[in-house]
Amino acid sequence: MNCEKITYYIEKGYLTELNITEKIQIKLHQLYCKCCKNYEPDSLTLNKVFKLLAGENKVDELSKQEKEAIKTALERMD
């Protein structure tokens, strides 16, 4: 059981190019390990959903009033 190492290789593979040994180790391990076989689609889903939190999908924004209040607070500073 070296799921810790295999999942590390899977993650590393999303960040950089893996060498052939690492790729083979993942494939061989996944032949008999359901956890690591399941881990891959789960992890890919995380990559997809987390990036949707940024960008044009604006979570929230400051209102005009709030910006004016900040300006007032700054003007009051000595």
Partner: protein, 185 residues
């Protein structure tokens, strides 16, 4: 305060408040807190205006102040939490294997269709929030904002292999968190 600085402060709000707020909100997920952090950033900026020598742009300089404030916030928040959980067995026959009860079920792809739901966004923010403070900035930069690995490493002063290790540990925790938080409701 002299007249030039006053004008600057007001222009700063118009020019940088939205950018700073966007940066803060995806990292703290709390409107009031993000607003306060932005205001504090401007205040710190004005107070230390004398130290700003124009070596960087105003934007870069304000962002560096905000980043420090967010890290301080995470650290304060973390002191109340318990130690990080280990997801792999450290001894015995199943050494290196997933700990019982935390084995990946491969169910997360089901959530993709529900991305529009606010509850899912909240669950994602909750899971990021549960990460150790040292990892949060790195995880948001890399997984949410998809910055280049090289830039993330430079910004956080870590090596490429540090980044691989941190992202691996964080993803294992995020995967487990989301499976529990979202699918077992």
């Amino acid at each position: 305060m002299n007249e030039t600085v006053k004008i600057d402060a007001s222009t700063w709000v118009d020019e940088y408040a939205d950018m700073l707020f966007n940066y803060a909100i995806i990292r703290v997920n709390d409107h009031e807190l993000a607003k306060d952090l932005v205001q504090d950033t401007f205040i710190s900026g004005l107070k230390s205006l004398a130290n700003f020598e124009g070596k960087s742009t105003v934007k870069t300089w304000l962002f560096s102040i905000l980043k420090r404030k967010i890290i301080d916030h995470w650290r304060k928040q973390e002191s109340r939490k318990t130690k990080a959980f280990t997801f792999f067995n450290s001894e015995g026959m199943s050494k290196g294997g997933f700990v019982e009860g935390h084995q990946p079920q491969g169910k997360l792809p089901e959530i993709e269709a529900q991305m529009e739901k606010n509850e899912l966004r909240e669950a994602l923010f909750y899971c990021i929030g549960a990460l150790p403070s040292k990892w949060k900035g790195i995880v948001v930069d890399k997984l949410v904002e998809e910055k280049e690995s090289e830039d993330v490493c430079n910004d956080h002063d870590i090596t490429a292999s540090n980044l691989w290790v941190i992202i691996h540990r964080a993803k294992v925790q995020l995967r487990d968190c989301l499976e529990n938080k979202w699918l077992n409701l």
